[in-house]
């Protein structure tokens, strides 16, 4: 019982937010591209580029804003490349996404060696980090200090960004267009939507968020750049976006579940439970939650899917043929 109270304490709140924020930001990138019907597996690589250029620019300029700006620019440039290759030249997203991930891994390693003559990690004496919000009133007590103070900028902004993305997706015309493209491309095309432009915009916006996620990783969550510091977080974001069915709010909750189970798992280690088992816990929980969510989801959407399939079978070829002609015109 004593060990349980050692594990489940107020400090879990902060730890959960801290651990999930990098994934939450990447999840927004994944949600936006998923709503456009693209499984953007290049997010991992975009994050890594964002982390590198953000950290370096902030350090060189001495201002974190330049760092975030550089991360966003890096994110947009890389995702523009992905977008052009995928959308314009019809390369499968997995091919170009995977290529970008490998380029990011090797490219940042190469840049580290060329620019700073180091390998592995870039540690500097006075790293420039994102601002940390401290409330002097809360700092007087360790409990309130842990709960309300000491959050990094994006740990506070992330939930707001989630709401913002939700609003854009579900309450604006642009969001409606994006979702309709993701749901049924030929139908969207026949309704007069410029599919290429909508998808490209989604990929670029996804790059912005992935870049920010990278900036948070190297300047907020830590204060260094390390090779492969994303360590699969981009893929976790894809899973979270899927878990939420493309809804940023559900995806955010999914990230929190993962963050919470991971922070509990970390604390479980000190109780003497074998580390190998404990390290498995977050993934087990994620798989369990994901499965239950999938079962619920498939029950709900069965009817809709059958209806859609039927329409597709009846009208599919005809619509697609027309749409292709139209698509080439744009």
């Amino acid at each position: 019982m004593e060990t349980l109270s050692n594990i489940v304490t107020y400090s879990l709140v902060h730890a959960t937010l801290r651990m999930s924020t990098p994934v939450v930001l990447a999840t927004l990138a994944a949600v936006i591209s998923r709503q456009g019907g693209i499984t953007n597996i290049g997010i991992e690589g975009i994050m890594l580029f964002g982390a590198y250029f953000g950290f370096v620019s902030a350090w060189v300029s001495g201002n974190w804003l330049w760092g975030v700006a550089a991360s966003v620019v890096a994110g947009v440039v890389v995702s523009a490349a992905i977008g052009i290759v995928h959308l314009k030249h019809n390369t499968h997203i997995f091919v170009i996404g995977f290529a970008m991930n490998m380029l990011a891994l090797g490219g940042t390693r190469f840049l580290l060696q060329q620019m700073f003559n180091v390998s592995g990690a870039l540690l500097v004496d006075k790293p420039v980090t994102l601002p940390i919000l401290r409330l002097s009133l809360a700092e007087r007590n360790p409990v309130t200090a842990s709960l309300f103070s000491g959050y990094s900028l994006f740990e506070l902004l992330a939930p707001l960004l989630v709401l913002g993305v939700w609003y854009v997706l579900y309450r604006t015309a642009a969001g409606l267009r994006l979702r309709s493209v993701g749901l049924h491309e030929p139908a969207a095309r026949s309704a007069g939507i410029d599919v290429y432009r909508v998808k490209m915009r989604a990929i670029l916006l996804s790059g912005v968020f992935a870049g920010i996620a990278g900036a948070h990783l190297s300047m907020g969550y830590s204060s260094m750049f390390v090779e492969n510091m994303t360590n699969g977080r981009g893929f976790m974001a894809l899973a979270a976006a899927n878990f939420g069915g493309g809804n940023p709010i559900y995806a955010f909750l999914g990230c929190l579940v993962f963050g919470l189970s991971d922070s509990i798992a970390i604390r479980l280690q000190s109780t003497g439970i074998p580390a190998q088992f404990v390290l498995m816990v977050p993934y087990l929980v994620t798989v369990a939650v994901l499965t239950s969510a999938m079962i619920g989801h498939s029950r709900r959407s069965d009817a809709a899917r059958i209806a859609r399939k039927l329409t597709e079978e009846i009208q599919g070829k005809e619509i697609r043929g027309k749409a292709n002609e139209k698509g080439k015109g744009s």
Partner: protein
């Protein structure tokens, strides 16, 4: 005319061959070495420590050394295979993580000289020179230092609770040997000290290391021992961020976060790499031999605490340094026997 020309050409050719042969012979004299690492350089710890020894040997003997890094354990076997194939004067294999790959490759190259660091092979093959470190003895000192430090409440950030932390990457016999020594050392100073133990599941994930360290600080630890190669960079980062404390490992890490790294447990992998290269250069290589580097031989130990002392000045508890030196002496003299993890050596 044409005969003269032919003669001249032939002479030139012979002269050219002799020159080429001469320079080729000089090239061949320079011994060539290859080192396979269990990870990437830049961890400011284990792998970099090996590089320090290599650099020293290169500077001193003018030898040629190639380093093969491993991005993941999948590279171990292919790295060792290509190292063994390359016709080098000596292949140095670092870390027990590579034991499996090494025991596959080594028997297939009975004429190739090998040197292995941090593990040994059964029956000591005649073409293998191995080094083992008394990681338990070095860790004993680190554990003792941590146990003494956790009650120094005059230093900001140290709480009254007797809790210390210990974080590593992946559980292996060698890592258990580290932990056993640490635990024994802490208990030797104060049996009431509680140790929080954690594994990141990887030696190359600093962010996980940071998260583990933060969680241990939240659970009341004020000093955390790092036994985690590149993952440990995150531990030191967490210490500096939370204004808490850490103990470095392998290389002298005191300067990475001055004032927050109490000391580092040195495990002089550089010494082993240097000695191996030296043994081949000087012809003292002992196939089938074992080198055991402990506190007495200077293979393991603590730093001099100077960086930490400089930062905290008057608040610095000098008795920790004195006591650690006494303990090191007692280990050397055999008065203290540090248990080793069964089967590690």
């Amino acid at each position: 005319m044409s005969r003269k020309f032919l003669c001249l050409t032939a002479m030139l050719l012979v002269a050219g061959l002799v020159c080429a042969g001469g320079s080729w012979a000089a090239e061949a004299k320079k011994p060539r070495f290859i080192v396979t690492l269990p990870g990437m350089l830049g961890d400011k710890s284990y792998n970099d420590s090996c590089k320090v020894g290599i650099d020293r040997a290169v500077a001193e003997f003018g030898v040629e050394v190639k380093i093969l890094q491993a991005a993941s354990p999948a590279d171990f076997e292919s790295n060792n295979l290509s190292a063994a194939e390359g016709g080098y004067d000596l292949v140095i294999i670092l870390s027990g993580q590579q034991k499996q790959a090494a025991s596959k490759v080594i028997p297939e190259y009975p004429d190739q000289k090998f040197a292995i660091i941090d593990f040994s092979l059964p029956d000591n093959p005649k073409n293998v020179y191995s080094t083992l470190f008394a990681a338990n003895e070095g860790s004993f000192l680190a554990g003792a230092a941590a146990a003494m430090f956790t009650t120094q409440t005059q230093i900001d950030g140290v709480n009254a609770e007797k809790i210390i932390g210990w974080i590593s990457g992946i559980e292996t016999p060698l890592i258990n040997d580290f932990y056993g020594g640490f635990k024994q050392g802490a208990a030797y100073i104060d049996p009431e000290v509680k140790i929080l133990q954690a594994f990141a599941g990887s030696f190359t994930d600093p962010l996980k290391g940071k998260e583990l360290a933060l969680s241990q600080y939240e659970q009341g630890a004020d000093i955390v021992m790092n036994v985690a190669s590149a993952t440990g960079i995150g531990i030191l980062d967490a210490a500096a961020e939370q204004k808490k404390f850490a103990i470095g490992v392998d290389l002298d890490q005191d300067n990475l976060k001055p004032g927050y790294v109490l000391t580092s447990m040195l495990k002089n992998v550089d010494m082993a790499a240097y000695l191996f290269i030296k043994s081949v250069v000087e012809g003292t290589y002992q196939g089938g031999g074992r080198l055991y580097l402990d506190v007495a031989k200077g293979g393991v130990g603590l730093t001099d605490f100077a960086v930490f002392k400089e930062f905290w000045k008057d608040k610095f508890p000098q008795n920790i340094v004195d006591r650690c030196q006494e303990l090191a002496k007692e280990i050397t003299e055999g008065k203290i026997k540090v248990d080793e993890f069964p089967g590690v050596r």
